[in-house]
């Protein structure tokens, strides 16, 4: 643990794209960065050493899940989330707002906060800016997120405006509730749906409050890539260049490349881990469904350029076999590979920005993805 303040350095720019680095209480993170999701205090199917081995320097954990089980005060008594889950590097926690909306039952929102029932056992809970920030402090997050309402999509302009303004009042209360500690940061979240004026109003409000970093929220909720990029094109330039920018819940590899080109520094998404558990691998040449019978006799690796264990040590035939036999190792290896893929993508983007050719990187990335998977082997003999 360093006692230094949270800080972000901008190392290089290429158009809007940024190569940076932030230092938090538990370590340094090179940006653009992808944060694997460790919902309940574990990146599903992975040992933390395996997560680190992929190159990940920070993980995300969910306030909503951890407050319900095992409970934030319990985690605090046990020494905090880093110790609990054996992840000594930085952790970002979300505020719980998004999961309350997407997972829990019988939600009731008012100015104070949200009352809801647990999706696990129906027990009754409340969450407010103050309690969300307190829970994130108990967990020991390096980066806490302001408590907000993730505006659903689609939303009429007046609904989106009311929702955004509530989130901005909550952002102010989140900031007031946040206890400053060296190396610990609080990020605000821009809302406003697809409406440029609302996004601008939200950004201005957050800048007025003042945060250590700025997230763009309320995207990747069904609006589509084009609409998402349009929001980024107008919103990112409103954010200060000396703070990290985080696009929440994004996304597919192509979403990440497009958002990095537009100036985003941080991402999180369940896609690499969730897909790994359902048989989908991400590769340079696009997604591969390992459940497909075309792999049954294929001695080749998933991706011959990937240095991960799944690609160096196993054939597609074996991975396919694990899938058919419902063996846990299939989920482990595909999750591990996917996390490798995402981290390699981020490393490639970082190198391209530093070299000043992120545009060419994005073009080559898209061309390689469009190739599709390698040809199937000839019919078996």
């Amino acid at each position: 643990m360093t006692a230094a303040p949270f800080r972000f350095e901008l190392l290089a720019s290429d158009g809007a794209a940024r190569r940076g680095r932030f230092t938090a209480a538990h370590g340094t993170v090179e940006t653009p960065a992808f944060m694997p999701v460790g919902t309940a205090g574990t990146v599903k199917a992975m040992l933390p050493e395996q997560v680190a081995e992929t190159g990940a320097e920070i993980v995300l954990a969910n306030t909503y899940h951890l407050m319900l089980r095992p409970g934030a005060e319990r985690v605090a008594r046990l020494g905090g989330l880093h110790k609990f889950m054996h992840w000594p590097r930085p952790i970002l926690t979300d505020s719980g707002g998004y999961q309350v909306m997407s997972l829990s039952a019988l939600r009731r929102i008012d100015e104070q906060g949200v009352a809801f029932q647990s999706h696990i056992d129906g027990s009754r809970w409340t969450l407010s800016p103050e309690s969300s920030i307190e829970i994130q402090r108990l967990l020991g997050a390096d980066i806490s997120m302001a408590f907000d309402e993730c505006t659903p999509h689609p939303a009429e302009a007046d609904v989106a405006a009311a929702s955004m303004r509530l989130s901005m009042r909550w952002a102010e209360r989140s900031k007031a509730a946040f206890v400053e500690q060296p190396g610990h940061a609080l990020f605000g979240i821009v809302q406003g749906s697809v409406y440029p004026d609302l996004r601008a109003e939200s950004a201005a409000r957050l800048l007025g409050i003042g945060f250590d970093g700025y997230a763009v929220g309320g995207l990747a909720v069904g609006e589509g890539q084009e609409a998402m990029f349009a929001v980024l094109d107008r919103t990112v330039k409103l954010l200060p260049s000396d703070r990290p920018r985080y696009l929440m819940g994004v996304g597919k590899p192509a979403d990440i490349v497009g958002a990095v080109v537009r100036g985003i520094d941080m991402f999180d998404c369940v896609l690499p881990t969730r897909s790994g558990r359902t048989g989908q691998a991400f590769t340079r040449r696009g997604p591969v469904n390992i459940r497909n019978a075309r792999h049954i006799d294929d001695p080749r690796p998933l991706d011959d350029s990937c240095p991960c264990s799944a690609c160096r040590q196993y054939s597609r035939a074996y991975l396919h076999h694990l899938w058919r036999a419902k063996e846990m190792l299939g989920q482990i290896l595909l999750t591990w590979h996917n996390l490798h893929y995402y981290q390699a993508l981020m490393a490639g983007l970082r190198a391209a920005i530093a070299a000043g050719d992120v545009g060419a990187f994005a073009v080559a990335f898209a061309a390689e993805q469009d190739q599709g998977d390698i040809e199937p082997l000839g019919a078996r003999t």
Copy 2:
């Protein structure tokens, strides 16, 4: 791969207990040895590197499962089981006889072999001494097992005799079908249920045929520890001292200690892996059920003397949390711990035999197990 013949060295004895070493095509195995079970070409929930890290030098794979899926010829085309599952050390394959009886439907046994339906898809298959040995050759097993009928328990003496004699005729055919290759071994299996005269007849028949090692089969099928030890007391001394002795499907830690004291060199059992997936940990002080609520606030490791990752890096509270949250990491860590426990037990037995005090080891082992788990912490504050 060595081109040397399969060989067994007896390094030390302590009463009936033996400290030995065998060398097979893919490496050397210190005995007494425990073989983790990799049914379908994977030790469930484990990477092969993790299995090796526990100290395991050999794993068992199941002919029955692999012949049905992915198929022995497919595995052979892909370079054999060692390459397929990325386990470069010795592999023992069972003959499939036991699983045909316990898992498949519509079995029909005759002199030729067994016809059965797959438990996976109902497809129709046959297995004979010749085809079982051929499948094990295609898989590339270092140690193949003679095809036998595992006599059910209980069995009347005449049923047990007929079953044993069929297995002995099949043992002869297995030996005839086995293709000699340097470093590859074929083991015979003593049957005869709980009847001393049948066990003696079986052992004599096998010795007459001549095998590279001798297994005791048809135990751990419900007869109880006392009856099992009684069979071992009478049977092991009938087996040649210059060949490894393998007690199939055993067992609990106390079963293994008792069988080692009686002269057994090799074991396999699904218990450490299966228990790991259902929340039971093996410790010096007996089994621990991590699902029990007593662990919810317990910052202590499962077993403070265990050097495994689960014990060094995580609290009981975290392992309990993983269980409640149905997180795969809970199964991974408990499986890994249990395999560590079993390998540490075998290492302890090997050292005790070499030191000539396996009797004291067995007494101390039982006393420590009888202590039961550490006291729960006081009620939480």
